[in-house]
Amino acid sequence: MSALEISDGIQAAGTESAFAPAIAVFHCRWCEPDSQKVLVMMPPDVAERSIIRRLNCSARMEAEFAIKALGAGFDGVVVIGCEMGECHYRVGNEQAARRLSVLAGILALAGIYPQRLGLFWESAFDEVTTRRSIEEYVEALRDIGPFKDPH
Amino acid sequence: MNYKTIQSTCPYCGCGCGIYLEVIDGHLVGTMPVLNHPISKGSLCIKGWAAHEFVESEDRLRRPLWKRGANLEPTDWDSALYSVADRLTAIKQQYGPDSIGFLSSAKCTNEENYVLMKFARAVVGTNNIDHCARLCHSPTVAGLARAFGSGAMTNSVPELEEADCILITGSNTTENHPMIASRIVAARDRGAYIIVIDPRRIHLANHADLFLQPRLGTDVAWINGMMNIIISEGWHDRDFIRDRTENFAEMRQTVASYTPERVQEISGIEPHLLRHAAAMYASSARSSLVYTMGITEHTTGTDNVLSLANLAMLCGQVGKPGSGINPLRGQNNVQGACDMGALPDVLTGYQRVDDPETISKFARAWGANLPREPGITVTDMIDAAADGELKALYIMGENPMLSDPDINHVKEALSNLELLVVQDIFMNQTTELAHVVFPAQSYAEKAGTVTSTDRRVQRVRKAIEGVGEALTDWEIFSRLAKIMGAKGFSYETPIEIFEEIRSLTPSYAGITYFRLDSEELQWPCPTEDHPGTRYLHEGEFTRGKGAFTAVEWKPPVEVADEDYPFFLTTGRVHFHYHTGTMTRRSPTLNREMAGAAADINPTDATDLGIKDSDMMTVSSRRGEVKIRARLTDSVPKGTIFIPFNFRESAANMLTISARDPIAKIPEFKVCAVKVEKAVSRR
């Protein structure tokens, strides 16, 4: 996998009512090899502030990626992997799911909305369902607001 | 298998934290905190945790060196010592004892400082002794001695937790005295008011109840302003003023003109904030003042300290727990170096060289005639060397080529000397210019005592054998003294030296190595059953009554103008210590900060087309440096901050050597510079 590049200092833009979250998206290459396809699933105002990274397997998703992304200016982190039982490496997605579930608990204890972490386990890439899941996630994120403390 | 731990005191700052040095197979492998230590309470800062890393570095000086041609070459101890003894004797005979100067070390032990100053006075016959305290807290010593009769921190570090209000000014405490900042936040957790007054928005400002941001060099104005408000409101402690002080009327008259409006004009502080600070400080039962270089490193440093003394006395905040004036001393043993008389005008315990009784006492004890005229300070010594009046300089554990102002001038001065001897643990910019270099032992290789900022005498203990042929500093002077035919230097252990010190020094007379093994002792400790002194000036000041001083504000010597439109202020960073000789050889600390960066306000940076991490050229009337930019709004518009720890971007290339007339401290904190984006070579 190429070196992960996360741009520091992405500024939160938009007014309160039209807050456009910046999202760091990590998708497994087996359920969807084409990052562009994932990008266009998102509303344009969000897509232009987001980054997409392709992983060999959702298991490659480390808690550090999500934690660092939040600190670096992203408001949400999305992980798209294969449906349970369909992982190319048998159990990678289950490892990821477990790890990210523990992370979500830690975020909540630290006062960070666990809903900032969006986990989507999709079977043989279903555009319609995935698009809808992402849209719901983005709307929820708009309501939660930016990660960075305004003060 | 083997593993042991040796209890010592951290070699870095003046907090005086206890550490355990971990030793396996005769090598240092780590440090650990001391669980119930009165200062560090089971914690350490990152430097304390890394205090072992530089000790056995490959770079350590292991053999004596002397100059042959243009290079320094290794030699044996006898050759080096005899050569220095011969040259010193010759120079003394030809030019007189005052053509020789000594710089002592605020990092070396009390015993070593004592032996150096005894050597200078009894063997060479000069009072030209000084050390880096000149560059940091000399105004404290001068100012508080004048106001109270004693220049030391009045209260103790643990007492900060008993304060109801702590006002911190000119001290980036979390970064430079972390264990003291620890007490300040603990006090806050208990409900104390914390006021931070600093030209930069330092880290502690974010954990304060009130933050005031005055312009550089305006401290007398805002302090007088606070007193103006306190007096107008009748918040001052009339009983204390009447019973315990003198000269109030004159001071009161002077501060009458420092109205909040005038103070705002001078310093930029808004009247309502000044009033808020005055109210908090004056109305709290126990109010404590904490300060460091932001107050002292000015041409008005002594005035600044006198003003703080005025403020404390005005509100009766001296001589009781949790209050006082608390200058935080920088080095691990700068308090000790001062206590040991490594100063031109005093012997141990601040006993003056021009006092006949004192001189007789020491002359008798040492069996030597002693000089009675005060000598010159380090800043004057540099000038005298440049002028050719000072012929020889003997430096122990100091690096003036990085820590003194106006480095080009320092280089010219040191290069002009007939003899430059340097005793240190590493090569640095100063040793490079020396004729002879003696390898010294570090804190982990020797035994002795050090005195931390709150007058606390503590032990350093030997954990490993000296590296290479390095000797302990007192041993080197003792050998030199013997070669030069002097008596009174046949010490075999540091305890003997300490016993001699306490026999001549009333404030240390009750302290013994035995007591230090199990008791906390802060001087004054006059007798062996005296418990030591937590806070000073209880009941009466050292000089009797506390003296108010009427102080008028004066601007800094060099301010921003058309040619040099930025203010430069200098200081330190957390991860490195002073000139970096130890910390820049510590992997943990280098990893955090490998090089220098100058803090610049983002608006200024944008105007100059500078982005974060771009190289900038900063120049003053003295010199120029290239340094990376770090954009931060902790510095106000129009001000640049450069840390002085990094030789490749030496802040002191730019600073002005203009001095406080009384304390002789250079104005490190204010001068004028211009800033440009550095021209890229690509």
Partner: protein, 277 residues
Amino acid sequence: MQEEVEDTREQQARRIARELIASGGMDGILGLLEIRDHQVPHLFTEVDELEGLDVSGRYPIAAIAERLLRKFETGRIGVIARGCDERHLIELEKKKSVDMSRLKLIGLACTIEEARECHCVRPYPREVQIGRSVGNVDYLDHEALSKLINMDIAERRRFWTDIFDRCIKCYGCRNVCPLCNCEDCRLEEARWVRVGEIPPEYPSFHLIRAFHMADKCVGCFACERACPMGIPVGKLHQLIKEDLKSVYGYQAGRDVEEKSPLLLAPGVETKGKGGRG
């Protein structure tokens, strides 16, 4: 009464240590040496050193044991271990950082006072040779913990953001923790936590550590005691531990065979059978 128990613990410890050293099977006994009213970790190798052997101080002994085993390739040492020390060693064993066959644990039971000071719930090791176990207790600071739990999420955010902002990156929390023994610590990598900043990068520094400790923390609170700025890091770890316990029934330091919920045993705890080729 208490005086008697204290003396007995020291005497017991010295007797056991003397026997082990005299028998020649051990290269040393790792315990605390009393010097000048302080107790410091020390490897006792000679019988006449044992006069100074003390048991009332607290240091992360497991960290020193692990370092010694790493530095010296052969040899066995006895370790005077409290409950927490033993739990540390169990977790280190899970990581394969210590070879327990090179250690002989000499179990030390804590007194009620010691348990209270440490906010302990299990102040005794499995086998007690020194002192008498006081059984399970609960000295957790429930007041502080419930305050944290009962805050709403925005308050919690404000609380932790403000308090982490005090951090001076001393790494004390990590340095005293026996479980933090990675050669390449992630917190030191500029990629994850920007270097040279005070306070350190948020949320990276503290939450990466919290995540790493999630399945390893045994609740000794040494981290919190080592923090100079009063940051209740131990309490955050405690809350995370309680989460893992209630969701997965997992407790660190209980049993070397007890696998972390973060390490799913393929085929046993997972459903995955195979994917697309």
